[in-house]
Amino acid sequence: MAKIGVFICHCGENVGAKVDCTKLAAALGDHPGVAVSVEYKYFCSDPGQESVKKAIRDNNLTGVVVAACSPRMHEATFRKACAEAGLNPYLCEIANIREQCSWVHTDKDLATEKAMDITRSMVEKVKRNNKLQPIEVPVTRRALVIGGGIAGIQAALDIANAGQDVVLVEREPSLGGHMAQLSETFPTLDCSQCIMTPRMVEAAQHPKIRLLTYSEIESVDGYIGNFTVRVRMKSRYVDIDKCTGCGDCITKCPAKKISSEFDCSLGKRTAIYTPFAQSVPNIPVIDKANCIYFKNGKCKICAKTCQCDAINFDMPDTFVDLEVGAIVVATGFQVQNNSLYGEYGYGKYPDVINGLQFERLASASGPTAGKIMRPSDGAEPQTVVFIQCAGSRDPSKGVRYCSKICCMYTAKHAMLYAHKVHDGKTHIFYMDIRAAGKGYDEFSRRAIEEDEAAYIRGRVSKVWQENGKLMVRGVDTLLGKPVEIAADMVVLATAIVAQPDAKEFAKTIGIGYDEYGFYNEAHLKLRPVESSTAGVFLAGACQSPKDIPDSVAQASATASKVLALFSKDKLEREPVVATNNEVTCAGCWGCVLACPYNAIEKKDIVDRSGRVIKRVASINPGLCQGCGTCVTFCRSNSIDLAGFTEKQIFAEVMGL
């Protein structure tokens, strides 16, 4: 039937000392289907490999088993040698008689017997090996970056600067994300806008970047190298080509009392607006829900004001279909809603605010032009209490994990406050101070030592209003005493959580997410910027809470992954992938659910008239990573995995 060559390597004394290689070669020589069975000192050496090649050619071998060290050592070596001799490399297997036999056993007879079993079993497998060809997947050299915060911008710029096309999609009217909202950034206290705005502009003007703001991803199909993405461009009611960004319409808009999302409700905006002054693109949108014309059918003041005739109340949403080869997901985070903590009075007392709101108060371009004022009466707070871990590390009400950035930004807030209100007092309730990072601990020490932030280790149990003050009751666990502070303002270091639609969105693009809605990396340690879906990469806080340096680093890492992917016309993949027998498939879709890579799709089988006669599973070799979980799940035994087929494993067991 088959003509298998068995090559038994002594590995010097490593195998030979404990396995009787001569006996092994003789035994295998008698095995059905074995045409050649020889031993040699070192098959991995050049002459050794040459002898394997010669044996393949001389005997027209249909398969090769090298009984030697672990396949993790030299499988690639011998497969290459086979290929050079004209034998499909996947017809070569390694019988591990060193690491798993000669090195671990002391009795030579028993070790030899075991080596025989291992090798015979492998011969039986090889008899059923199929010639496999590496899978080639064409690659569309265009990347899609989803999310226009710092991570998305960084990834887009890195990819674009390497000469590849990028489409950058942002769902808000402007690029910028959360970073644009920040006042100064730790640990250097440089102005966020000052470092952010130039990057936004650079991205918008980059010839290789196509910017789609106020746009959302509708659907993602395809697989690595070959995604088809549909983007919905939400109607701005402002013609982006005509608008000059003069801002007259904004000034004239009569609906002025709309709470500003960008300012975290601390400021107001109009119905036609840009989120902030430095918006990119600097084109306003009409907020349909609050626009007087859309509500009452009358107004159109903006349209009358506009000198370029850019306002169009009938503008529909439009769709853009994109072909892209890689996707970078940089969809960011949101802050947790603090009204979960009724005892802190968030939402009840206007002067209890969250960290992001404090950023807006402290921001020079914020609603108070950088002056720290209480939201309730505009007075300058003299005593401010910061409560850390307001949501983080709290399994009972909040989230179990550490939000990572709060320790640092609270320290920063204390410093900013001290710099602005010189005689103000700050008290910070904390659990631990986590200040790991370059310059971070020094930074937080500065808050304590130079800016006199009073850190109190302990939790706050209650905040209430009394005599125009916010009474904060907590406990100082170091002193073991209850503390009560009369404050003018309370700032909660709110937990960072996933975007509200993170899970839905993950399903749209077909990536995994954890229980919190943060996106799963392919491997926490070794593949931290790849999602579980080939060709989809993760940057920034959508994967887990991150500060700016980490987000930027990860974004650049995704860019390098994308660029590596784009470095070839075609992607070559190991052909260890699953295939499905569509005739016997019952279409139960268990495999679709079980597949960790979303590599299995439902496929309609139609007859000549186009009528669907049945639905079966169809495995996309571009996405399949070859784990074989689907094979085991398949009750009708319709799926199989190349390289580890049912026949091969059956034969391995039966050959033992």
């Binding site: 039937m1 088959a2 003509k3 249909t62």
Partner: protein, 271 residues
């Protein structure tokens, strides 16, 4: 039996030439084998599979079989190499009454992988060409690649005493295909010789047989002069296991060769 030659006919289709190892078995085969009979070819550990003996009764030094690799046994047979041993049980079944064809014109009609049984009859006749009248062969397959015995088709094409009509199904032609395009029954109606003094032998998938019989009838062939061979699923080969039954007929014993008249008495739906 030992495999002495192996030939790829078409994608997934192979021919094996087998030689007897046991003289007694060979003697028995020589004594009993007549064209039309079948055998069970086996590989221990996998089982047995039934196909016709594709070599003619005029060449009994060996057995040739042609099969498509599809199941467990045929996969094992397809992987078998020259020098390997396989088993043969047979020959079983009835035969084409070739003596009755003497002096007559012959029309062979075949489709796809069903050429082997026809080929056995064709060579049995061509090997004693003088005993027969005009020989016409109509052979079709789905695509050019699916045609089997490509060498022999060429040989027949060359011969002046054989009319070979080749066809492939519409869409199955290659750019350099010089023969016909169309389904066998249609082509047959254009290319068939006169039914007078003519014996027709057809072999093909059930659907082809069905339509070819209609065409032959249209052409004026008498059912008694049309022969076919049924390729039913078989296991025992000796009229016991029951799966080859069509009506009251045990195809393995009373067939596989039947006249169209006999076939028409069988329940058509069970064919």
């Amino acid at each position: 039996m030992k495999i002495v030659a192996r030939h790829d006919e078409a994608p997934g289709v192979k021919t094996l030439r087998l030689e007897f190892q046991e003289p007694a078995e060979h003697e028995y085969f020589k004594k009993t084998y007549r064209t039309g009979m079948f055998g069970l070819y086996g590989v221990y550990g996998e089982g047995e599979s039934t196909f016709c003996v594709a070599s003619p009764e005029t060449r009994k030094d060996y057995i040739e079989c042609t099969f498509r690799q599809s199941g467990r046994v045929t996969s094992a047979l397809a992987n078998a190499d020259i020098g390997d041993l396989i088993t043969f049980r047979g020959p079983y079944g009835n035969r084409f009454p070739i003596e009755d064809f003497h002096g007559k014109n012959l029309l062979f009609i075949s489709g796809g992988i069903a050429l082997p049984p026809t080929r056995s009859v064709i060579w049995s006749c061509l090997d004693q060409r003088e005993k027969f009248g005009k020989v016409t062969i109509v052979y079709g397959a789905r695509t050019v690649a699916d045609l089997v015995y490509k060498h022999e088709l060429e040989e027949w094409q060359e011969r002046s005493d054989v009319d070979l009509v080749l066809t492939v199904d519409p869409g199955g032609e290659s750019p350099d295909w010089k023969h016909r395009v169309g389904f066998v029954p249609t082509v047959l109606e254009e290319a068939a010789p006169s039914p007078d003094n003519c014996i027709a032998v057809i072999c093909g998938p059930p659907i082809m047989i069905k339509f070819t019989l209609i065409s032959l009838k249209k052409l004026g062939f008498d059912e008694a002069n049309v022969y076919t061979t049924l390729e039913n699923r078989m296991k025992c080969g000796v009229g016991k296991c029951g799966r080859c039954n069509v009506g009251s007929v045990y195809v393995c014993k009373e067939g596989p060769v039947f006249t169209a008249a006999e076939v028409s008495r069988m329940p058509a739906a069970d064919l």
